[in-house]
Every structure is written in structure tokens, then in C-alpha cells.
Symmetry: D3
Subunit: 320 residues, 6 copies
């Protein structure tokens, strides 16, 4: 018996460990018996699992999002690994495990990130800009602690949104040093607001797992939702019209290309910079995630989110 | 002396007539004399005009938008017609002319169109949809009477916006008959709201002449501005969230392609229909405008707004 | 035993009913026995079916397109429903069933549609236009009664082509009222001829089921075939050259974009209108078909034929 | 006084020579005198010319297409050369000049080219292919002798169409040797028919000068016109359906890309080869035309018809 | 027992024959026994094969690239043919078979092709061009004898690169006759060098089978690698700078479109011609390969490498 | 008399000042007198100038690139300012002016920039990377001091290339802090080498003014030239193959999109970052250049190099 991480599973492994129940369906096998078709997950990945020949009512014991203790065998089925469960139960207090340790999450604690991010809010000098951002961050503090930045792809982990903004803010600060003609207030505010409505665009539970896009998310998307939120809050804090519009313009243009959702292009340098800060952070995240699973001297498979490019990990990347 | 319309001017014509002063610049000629470089306009077109050797202060007599009485000669300068003014003065009461007769305008009176359009507002049955539309039409009644639908191109005439919506509404009504599965309330509301923020996207005077795009128009554009207006009004009239979102979605998607300003595509049939109603009316308007200046049996020059297509006017178009 | 429609099948259902045999292959199982791999269909859909362990010659009993009576069980195989046949026979007179009731068809009878469509032919006033259209409709009357408008996608049902044209004609009539500058003769003729060669572009049986594209369909396509047919008939009825060319031009341009098969763009307003009539009818058809399978408050899966958009069915669509 | 070719004109040259009158407009100068605004041409190029202060009726002496004897001076006007005419008259018999020597033409005589091209017609073995091509070449013999292959761009010279086809046929013959799997009959026929309707797509006089596109040319274009001609002739010679369709398919697909006018792509290797033969000949022609005006070691200006590429003429191109 | 070629296999065939082992994996079946999952190949194709229940160590008997003698049965598994091996052994001397006869190869022997190709090298007159090409061909002679021109697609067979260049050279020679303004030295050299670095872009064994792209191939690609090789060799043979650059330019531009790997477009006619020679040969090869498996009167399935076009094989293609 | 900067010229100004002679042509006026058509420039811009009625030989007094003292009047000609020279002479020692003060240049001295840039070279730790970069910077030190980064557009000023790289290096350093997984050696080397061959792609004089692209620049471009230079130097310093290839790959991919000249996309994160560093610096430069000529509260004209976007300068940009 073994407590391997899912990413390390090999056919033939006998496993006993804790997992999150990510998805669950009751199905009927060819011999007409009911079984559970499950997705189990830990911090490192997911695997399809089968619990054969369930008793009546056994399926109602479990709900997705719960932590379960499972015993079974890893098998190979049509070139994919599958987990054949022999025993499964819900975790109990004495198991002394916390569900949060079983979901992928940002590498810094949400509390630390939040504090550092709020530090940037406080660096904003222009009153209206600061009022708008502060008000929105008050409103959204709670969901912000766990929200991921995506359903899949970059920063699709617990607190991924905070992590995405934090790294962008750090970059923003130093680049405002290199390019002193930029208004740092606008750059910080742009970063802090650009994706803020991802919180309402996707239904994420407090494990940072997105089940689906929301109604508003489908009908308008987080960019338009963000513009509306700034408008509403700007009216509440009685911000100058020009200031409110600059922030809305930055959110509206940050995807840059119409086909990626921005109907206008940046008309101020801070909006241009926001776009590149966003791209850099997303790409660095995605590339590092691929590197994490590669050996030195190796090419990766084509990576979907990087336009099907392969990456190469050189000997100069050995100790990074 | 002649009172020809500008569209009929030929080199050599001696003209005495009334025109609108569309643009005016003071310039200095090669022999160092001041002169006025003007654009004169009537219902049918515009012409560049020169008033040579002006007296000191004579330029301050005139303001763009005024109606002037002018005498002079049409000449040819580098393949373009030009109007050489020999005499010019402001109109006076006894001239008995009205500036409105000298600007291009929709072929139906604004009052008649407004009444017919409001008839459609009243046909809307669903309370929230009706409340939102009614409220916005109350707010915008005044500018709506004269607003054009564009700076140049289709419906860029006085009350052109009303005319554009009126024809779309007439089409909407009959097509809802052919396609009874459409919710007519949504289609009417979509038409009534889709371009409403063109009123605030462009600075137009009450002759329907656009001088420039507004700050908000440049930073966000009438589509995003329209979404925001619906949001605000929907909150005021306490409309159901779903209803408010459907109307915003229709405005957001009506340009259909991202590169034309719609970051989302229609997800309800009424939004799809709105797009085609809009396209049909714009294209019919532009094509008829070209036909008006063509003879039967002739091909037009390439028309910029029709993707540089030429049109052909056949003998079957003779009496239309 | 149950007579459910295919669209309502669930794993475990015991079914006894009539179906059309849409496709049939003889295969050999892993234990070296022959079996029939079938596609069964009714008005609502299709399902893969297996008839195991057939006798020698049993396969020659059946032909695709026939109506069969079948008994069996619905099973789940790799996430798809499959029908395991226990008994199958050809229908007999005493079954008192008509194959036409088992294929998807337009919601109006072909006869009624044909009569209404011919009413539009008779509304055409210009002699040459009328002669060309009348002649072609005489020639194609028979196949027209059953022809679908596509192999899959919009109007891919029995008499779908008639239904497509009929709704376009109804729209054409009312829009010619809104836009009186259009020549209605040309618009009607354009609608009546634009897809007429779909009859010869696809091999459809008299159930309206397309087996494949024809040789001419593959080498030229229905647009070019339509141009040629008009040319030939125009010569036969001695139509004026200009008239014949206008009709050919309308057919040639109705797909509008080169990448959709139109090498020229519309040069007359009637051709422009024809394109939009075509688009509207196709999109309304496809969207309603998706709506038919959706609940209020729900988003659909991405719809291939609508550029992978999802649709949303709102509470305002409840009783439509 | 000088008889320089137009390509060699320099500001200040005094010229007396013969030219073709390519275009003529009567205009009125700023001092209200009538003058002729002309385009003069010879084999090497064109130049704008002015004949000032004409007498009443003098303009009716001349018609475009005529050969005139002209005396005057080359001047520079806004960076372009212009020809100021001091004396002009129509040519007379005793001038002993032939208009044909003053238009750009293919480098081989039309008669020689025609004979060689007909040799290829005779090489066709398959009866139906040969009958179709022969019949069309009989019909079009006369215009073919002078027709250019374009209004401007490649082979826009007298007999340019014959020259274009001739070089393609020579290439076709040798490439059918390298690729013996090609059916040479189809390749020859494809070349012989692909552009044949350029004859009716453009109005060219017998000097090979195109004044404008024809009605049919604008409404359908030479590709669709070619398909129709083959169809009609194939019916007349009672060719097999398959054969007639293959030839139509080749003409239809020879521009290869939809945006260049081909709604289908080649489905037989001979159509694929036809496309490349066409491209090669057009590009070699255009590139050589640019090279003719370049010195060794030089880059050309961007060439419009070559997608604005510059060409380089190397020392290896010195004696070609 | 039968010695059929793979392309002729049908379910149920009992086969005993020689094959190349193209790929091999050891897997574990659902009943926990080890088995070999193999790809067998001959000149005509490949098939998946299973050797069940292998002994310990049996897998180490075999290596990919070896020729094996196999007995077994062809079965149908999920619509694909599969080969169930009952007996397998390595070939021995007395089998008297040569691995080269079991891989797809160019239809002419490498030796004959090499000689003919070197004949073209010797036809080059300009000293520097000749020196550069000769030197490179000396360096690469050995790998050139077997190198394929691709991993899959056109000329992906043993000695396919030589065959590709040979046919291009034959075409080049005759087209230089038709277009005498071309510098034949440059055209020959362009053909001889354009793909030469495919030798180092892909790891191919001496059967011409590519296992993967090389490091350099992935990081730069054969076009850039070719430019570098010419540069290095040109310095070694002390070629004139202009000549070295012309050859590099030809290699750099031969894919023509940026999205296919050429950052510049041809600036000399020889580079333009090189592109078309390359396209023609690739397309003729691919089309003939499809034709080889088609019957007259038939349409192919969509062919991936031909942009998913279908081909048609007409009665005029019967004896080619 | 006035010594205004060119950017401040207005029609009617009488000017006496020093300018650089940027371009010079001898032309002949309509009254057949020779005159000089000149372009004069200072740090702030350029203006067309005419020196009328020159003496024989006067034109040979001047050469482009020289500093001249000029007196004359600013006039308006067809909406552009023009400078009518009344007196002009070469500068003399006693004028005590330095040509370098009359060309646009980077805002930091070349010497200071060079020192800071070399500091980054010295920060590189990996031996091969450092050797390659050091060697190239030794070779190119002299031209590097004055080279612009472009012919027009971003950094097209004296020492603009150094300035471009310097700002990128400063950004690179801080971003390597935010993204510690990046190999800083590679990022620095990528910045230092990415545009280095712009030195040989364009012919720039030591005022940093580009007259034209070089032969190599036209045939290959600075990206391919850079790859070749790294290859050559890497062989000289006997660098590891992998290292040499990584640097070549970074240069090759830094334009990112094929249509901008990069045939491959980045396969290592450092190449990805290099692209964004390049984009950011170019855009910040171009935007600031536009801002420099704008007032607060104003929209600019469409800016060609920013895809014809307008910029807006807000009150938050007032003191930057």
C-alpha cells in the first residue's frame, strides 16, 4: 500500500490515500450492475476511478468536493490510467486531514498575498483612483481570498487570482521605475481591477474549483462586467468622470485584440503596459508549469495553451 | 445668376444662393493677403469655397453653422470644383429662409417618426422591458429628434438615427410575423436601444452635423456606453436581473464580429435578428444613396462604405 | 415493451417499435460470428444498433431506406446509447405504417408549401423573369416536393428546401414593403432560384435523406450549377440578356463571401437582400432547433453550426 | 527636335514624333480658355500632355486610338513629367507609319503564336476534349489575335493573351514529360481555355487596349463566363458529361484561392498543374518587365503587382 | 497461409510473411499478463499487432528496425484492422530477405538518382555557385543516399529527398528553356540546396525512417540551418559575397509565406521559380499517392495534406 | 530674424539659423531655371526648403549631412510649411556649432549608456554566453555608439539602439527578480544580441541617420543576420552547441509572429520574455513621443506606428 501523489501513479500501483471527489456519476455496467464513475484529485492531478457493484443508496453517501479515503489499484485502460477502487469512505475528524491540502493552490498563502496587494492599494495617491479601488476591494475581499484566475489554464488554482495580480503588481512597480513617464496610480489600479470580475464570471467554490461560467459571465464576460462595476462604484464615491473613464478604458482594452474580447485598443500608455504585464505573468506561469514536468534536455509535447508550441528545457535551466 | 443645388454645379456656373457655412479657416495667400477658406453646404452636398482678400475683422462676422447668402463662380481646380465667392453676407429675417431646409435630413419629419417609434415602445408587453425602454426614451427625447446615426456613412443626416430605427422596427414587426418563435418585445427593445448611445458618442449640433467623437465615445464607444445606460436604468426601474442582462447582451452583440466592436456573439435569436435588421437597413440606405446618383445601365465607381464594390443600376430599377 | 421516440431513449429501456433503416454494415465479431451493424432512425433522431449472430443470407433481407419493426434493449456503450436488437422484421401491409411518418420533415405539407411558393412565382410581373422561374419550376417540380436543403445542418429534412424558400419569400414580401426601392420581381426570383440546384448537388432519396454529393455537386457546387441552369433556360425562353445576367448574378453572389463560395459580391440591392434573407432563415431554423431541446434558464452546449456558440433560453422564451 | 521613346523623356527635351492618343478630355483653364488634356503613348509608355488654347471644334478633329504627329516640350509638373504640345496633327498616308508599331505588344507576331498554339490544339487526342477546344478556338480566332491578358499588370499588351497561353503550353509540354501521370490532353485544354473569356470580360480595341470591363465581366467574371461557354459548346459537340465537367472544373479552380475568384479547389492533378503554370508565367512576365528597367546591383522600388516586393538584379543577371 | 502486402489485408486473413518492426511497447493486459504492442510495416503500409502472453525476456529479443518473420490472423478491432500474432522470430541469413525491400522507397535507385543529380551540379557554370554546391554535396553524400524529404507527407520515403530534388531539377532544366531570362546556375543551385538541411533537421535511420526532429531542427528548422551552412561553406571556398547571399536568399524564401517559415519573399526570379518547382513536385507526389489507391470514377476521402480536399479520378486517368 | 526650432515654425516666420542638410536635389523650375530642393533638419524635425535660381556649380558646394547657416521665410504651400531660402552658406569654425547638436539623439550620452550596457555584459555568469556576447560587443563597439534602432519609427535617433537595449536591460533585471525561474544570463544576452545586426542591416552615418537598407539587410534581414553572427562567433569562442543554439533561437524568435519576421516561436521562457521586453520598450518610446506633442485633455491624430490608434493625454498625465 502506498500514498503516492496522483502525478506519480503507475499501472499496477496499490494505493491507499486521501483524495478529493471532483466528479461523480452513477452508471450501469454491461452486466446491469450499478457502479460509481468518479474523478479523484489531489494537489498534483486527477484520475478517473471506478467503484464497482455499489449497494443501493451507497451513492448518496458522497458529494463532490468531499475528501475521501480510498484503497485500490491503478490499471491501464486504453492507454489511460484508471483507478479501481476496492474500498472507499468519507474522512473523519480523526483522519486529521484538511481538504485545502488536497487542492492545487498558489504557492503563497492567501493572507500574505492579500496583505501585499493591499499595500499597493495604499500606494495609490490620486484620491478618486484610490477610492474606487479601495471600495471594490472591500466589497470583494472574501471571494478574493480563494478565487482562481481561470477555469482551466493559467492560475486556475485556489487563490490564483490574487497570485496573478500580486506578481503583476511587483512587475508594475519596477517597470514604473524604468519608465517614469507612466502614472503609477493608473498602472496599479489597472492591475488591481482588470480581472476583478472573474470573481463573478465563474462559479468557484471555496476550494478555488470552477464548476461553470455564470449567467452574467456568459452573457457579458468579465471585461464588460468590470467596466460596469467601476462605473457604479465611481458614481458612489463621486469620482471625477475622466478618472472613472480611464479605469474603465484600461479594463476594456486589456485583452488588446478584438478577437480576445477587447473592442477598443489602449489609448494611454498605462493601458498598453497593463496588457503586457498580464501577458508576461500568464506566459511565465504556463511555461513554468510545463517545465515542472520536464527533464533537462527534453522537448515537451505541444502545449495547447501556448498555441501548441513545444518547450525545450536546457541545461541552463537545470537549477532554476 | 442661378440657384442650383450643389450636386448640380458645373465649372463656369454663376451662382447666387443660400448655403450653410460648414467649415471656415482664415489663411494667407502667396501674396500675403488673408482669405477665407470655406466649406459651403446645402441638402445635396458640399463645396470648397474661397473668399479672397478679406478685410480685417471680416472673418469674425461668420460662424460655422450659419446660413449665408453667397454670389460667385464655380471653377475647376486640380480636378475638383471650387467656388470663388464674389459676395457673401449673413441671412436676414426678410430672406425668409430656414437653416433646416439646407441640411441633409431624413425623408420623414422627426415628429412623425418619433410618434411611430413611440408606438412600438407601447407595443412592448413585458413590464420590465417596457419600463427600461420608456425611461431611456424619456431621457433622450430631445437629442433624438435631430441626432444622426453616424458621422459619415449611413444615416449621417439630421434625424437619421430615428429614421434608422423606424425602418428597422417596421421590418422587425413583419419578420416577427414570419418567425413567431421570436419574442417581439425583445426584438423591439433591441432595435430601440442598440444605437441609442450614438447620441452621446458623437457631438452633433441640432442640424444633425457631427463635429467629432466625444471623450466617452472614444474611450468606450456607443456599444459599451449603451450597456452601461441599460444597467443604470434597469436598477432605477427595479427590473429583473435576467431581463436587464438580455437587453445588455443584445446591445453588446449587435455588431456581431469582434473586429466591429462586439466582444460576444448573440446567444438568443432576437439578438441574431437584431444584427440582420441593422445590416439590412444600413445597406439598403447606402445602396439607395448611390443609386440616386446613377443612370440606368451604368456601373458606379467603387463605393468605399460597401467594401469598394461597384453597383449596377439595371433597367429593372428604372422606376423605383 | 415501449414505443418511445429515439430522442427519449434511456439506457435500460425495452423497446418495440418501427424505425427506418438508415445504414447497414455486415461485420464479424471477435468470436468470428457475422452481425449487422445498423443505424435506426425515426423523426426525432438516430441510434446505432446491433443485430448479433445473423443467419447466412439474413443480411440480404434488408435494404437501407426500409421501415422495420424491431424489438430490443437500449444499452450504454462507452458513453453512447446503443440498441441491442433481439428481433427484427420488415414491415408488412397490415402494420399500417407509412415510412414518411418516420423521417424528419418540414412542419408544413409539401403540397401546401408548393402552392404558396407558386403563388409567389405568379406575383412576378416582368415577363422574362417570370418565364425563367416558371420554366425551372416546371422542370424541377417533382424533386422539389421532397428535397432537403442540406445534407446536415439547416433544413436537412424532407421538403426542407421548399420550407426554406417559403419562409424567405414571406419575409421578402414584407421587406419589399419596408424598402419599396427594391424590385420585388428580382427578390422573389432570387429566392426561388438561389438554392434550386441543391436538387442536383446532392443525391437525396424521396425521404429527403442525402446519401452523398453528386459528381457535378463536387466539381462545381450548386451556385455555379444554378448559374448554368439559368443561362440555359434564359436562352430557351429568349429572355433579355440583362435580365438573365441579373438572375445569374444574384445566385452567384448569394453566399456573399468568397470563402463561402461566392466569387463576386452583390452589385444590386436585391442580391444584397437575398443574402440576408438566406442568413436569417438559416439561423432562425438552427436556433429554434436547439431551443426545442432546451429548458428555460439553461445554456446549450456549443453548437457547431452556430460557430460553436452556446444559446441561452430565457424566461421570456417560455411560451414561444 | 528629337524622336525619343517616351520611356527616355527628360524635362527640357524638345520632341517631335508620332504617338497614339490614348485618352482625351476638353477642360477649361483658370483664365477660362479651353484646352485638351491628353494621354499620349508609344510602345514604351505614356505621358500626360496639354494642348493649350484650342480653337472651337479643334477637339472634334481627334479620337482616342488615333496616331498623331506632335511637337512640343517635356516639362516637370509636381514631380511628374508633362508634355506641352506646340503643334499636333493627325497622321497622313505619306507619314508612312502604322499604329501597330506604337502600342506595346507581345514579342512574337500574333500569327506565329497562333500557329504554334493551334499545334497544341491538334496534339489533343481525346475526341471530346479536342472538339470542345477546337470549336471555341474557331469562334474566338479573330479577337484572340489582338486580345491582351489584362487591363493592366501581366500581359496587358496587344496579343498578350496568346503570348501568355503559348508560354504556358510550352511549359505544360515539358512538365508532362517530367510528370507522366498527368493527362496531357487535360493540361493543354486547361491552358487553352482558362482565360479564354477574358476576350469577353474586357472591352479591348484591336490595338489590345482595354477601355473597361464589360457588363458580363463585372457581373460574373471570366472564370464563370468560361464555365458557361464550355457547357454550351460541350452540348453542341455532344461531349461526354464527365469530360465537359473536368474542363469546367479546371477553369473554375485555376485561381485556386476563393478570394481570387475560385470557389472550388483543384480535385485533379491537371487542374493543380494549370494553376502553377499560370502563376509561373505571370510572375516571370512581371519580374522580367521590372528587370528591363533596372541596372545590375540595384534594388527596384516596391512593385505593386508583386505584393510590393522589391527586386534585386545581381551581376549573375547581367547578360540575360 | 498467405504473404499478402499490408495494404491488401482483410479481416480474417491468415498471414505468414516478413515485416519490419517499426514500433514496440511492452504492456500489461487486464488479466495482468505482459504482451507486446507492435507496429509492423512493409513497403505498402503499417498495421498494429499484438503478441499476447510473452515469456520473460522475450521482449528483449527484438529491436525496432529489425526484420521479423510473423504468423497470425488479421482481425477487426473498433473499425481498425489489427494483427494477432501467433508466432514471431527474427529473420536469419537463410531467409534470404533484405530489410531494404520492406521499407517504402523512391521508385528509382539512390545510385541512379545521385548520378543524375550530380550531373546537374556539373552543369553549373559560375565558379562560386558550383564550388559551394559541390562542397556541400561532398559533405552530405552519405546521408543523402537514404534521407527522406519529410517525417510524414510528401516524399517521406527512403531516398525521398534525392527523388524530390531530381524531379525538380528535370523540371528546372526545361523551364529554363521556356524562360531563358532565368539564370540556370541559380535555379539548379537553389533546387540542390533548398532542402539539404532536412538531413540534419530530422533523425532518420538508413531505412529513411524518421524517429523525430533534431534539437537544431526544432530550434531553427531546415531553412535557417541551410542559410548557415551556405554561409560557412561560402567562406571556406572564398565565394563572392553577392553569390553567397543570393543562394542564402533562395533557401530563405523558398517557402514563400511567412507562416510557412520564410521571413522574406523572393527578390529574384530564380527564387520565385524555385518556390513553384517545389510546390509542383510536392503536390504531384501527394496527388499521385492518393490516385494509387483510388478506382476510376471515384472521389477520395478528404486528404489532410491537400487542405482536406477530395480528389476525383476520371476515366481520362485510367491508364496513367 | 529668429532662431526657432523647426517644430515651432509658423507660416510667415523670418528665420536665420543653423540646420543639417538632410536631402538635396537639383531641379528645373517652370521658367527653366535651376534650383535646389532641400530637406533641412534640426533636433526637432524636418522641413522642405527651396533655394531658387542657383548659380552654376552652386549645388556642388553642399553635401547632405553638412551643417549650413540659412536665412529665409516660412511659407505655406498646399497645406504644408515650406522654407524659402534667401541666403545659405556652409558653417565655418567661427560659427562654433557642432553637427551633433542638430540631430535627434537618445536622451543619455552614448558613453554613459555604453558603460551601463557593458555592466550587464559583465553580469553574465555562464562562460559561453559571456564569451559570445563580449566578443560581439568588442567587434561592434564603434558603430554601436551612434547606431539608431530604426530607419523611421521607434528609436530612429542617434544612439537609439543603445538606448533601446539599455532600457530593456533595466527592465530585464527587475523582471528576473519577479520571475526567479528565468535564467538571467539568457535574458541579458537575448536583449544584447536581438537587434545587434541592425548595425549592418541599415546604412547609417555617424549622425545616426539611415540612408537605406543594405544589400544583406534586404536579402536576409537583421534577424537572420544575427543568427549567422552568433553562429560564427560561437565557433570562434568554442562555445557549447546547446548554448549557441539557445542564443540563436532567441534572436530568431524575438519578433514572435511569422508575418513580422520570426519563422519560429519561443520555446524557452527567456525568449518569450525577450519579446515582451522589446514590445514594451518600443511602445513606451512611441507613445511618449506622441505625448510630447500633445496637450492635456486632447486626443492625438491616428498614429501610424500604433496601428492608427489615437492617444489621449489625461490630467493624470500632466506632470509626467
Amino acid at each position: 500500500m502506498d500514498t503516492k501523489r496522483i502525478v506519480d501513479f503507475k499501472a499496477g500501483d496499490e494505493i491507499q490515500s486521501f483524495f478529493i471527489l471532483r466528479a461523480m456519476n452513477i452508471k450501469t455496467s454491461s452486466n446491469n450492475k450499478k457502479y460509481l464513475d468518479l474523478t479523484l484529485a489531489d494537489k498534483t492531478g486527477e484520475i478517473n476511478a471506478k467503484l464497482w457493484n455499489i449497494e443501493n443508496g451507497e451513492d448518496s453517501t458522497y458529494k463532490t468536493g468531499q475528501l475521501v479515503k480510498v484503497r485500490g489499484t491503478v490499471t491501464l485502460w486504453q492507454n489511460s490510467l484508471q483507478f479501481k477502487i476496492t474500498k472507499m469512505r468519507l474522512t473523519e475528524d480523526e483522519d486529521n486531514v484538511d481538504v485545502v491540502d488536497y487542492v492545487p493552490a498558489a504557492p503563497i498563502s492567501a493572507e500574505d498575498m492579500y496583505e501585499e496587494v493591499m499595500g499597493f492599494v495604499n500606494k495609490i495617491e490620486e484620491t478618486d483612483v484610490k477610492n474606487i479601488v479601495s471600495k471594490i476591494y472591500e466589497m470583494y475581499k472574501e471571494p478574493l481570498m480563494t478565487a482562481p484566475a481561470a477555469k482551466s489554464n493559467h492560475h486556475a488554482v485556489r487563490s490564483g487570482l490574487l497570485y496573478h495580480m500580486l506578481r503583476m503588481l511587483r512587475s508594475a512597480e519596477v517597470l514604473c521605475g524604468v519608465y517614469p513617464n507612466l502614472n503609477a496610480d493608473l498602472v496599479y489600479a489597472g492591475v488591481l481591477l482588470h480581472d476583478i470580475e472573474k470573481i463573478n464570471e465563474m462559479n468557484a467554490d471555496d476550494l478555488g474549483i470552477v464548476s461553470e461560467y455564470t449567467f452574467d459571465g456568459q452573457m457579458l464576460g468579465h471585461i464588460i462586467m468590470g467596466v460596469k462595476t467601476i462605473e457604479r462604484v465611481a458614481l458612489e464615491v463621486e469620482a471625477k468622470h475622466e478618472t472613472a473613464m480611464l479605469l474603465q478604458h484600461m479594463v476594456l482594452t486589456h485583452h488588446y485584440e478584438p478577437e480576445y474580447g477587447s473592442p477598443k485598443k489602449p489609448m494611454i500608455p498605462e493601458a498598453e503596459m497593463l496588457h503586457y504585464l498580464d501577458m508576461i505573468d500568464a506566459r511565465m506561469y504556463d511555461m513554468n508549469r510545463v517545465y515542472d514536468q520536464m527533464e533537462v534536455g527534453e522537448f515537451s509535447e505541444p502545449v495547447f495553451v501556448l498555441d501548441r508550441r513545444r518547450l525545450y528545457k536546457s541545461s541552463l535551466h537545470e537549477n532554476l
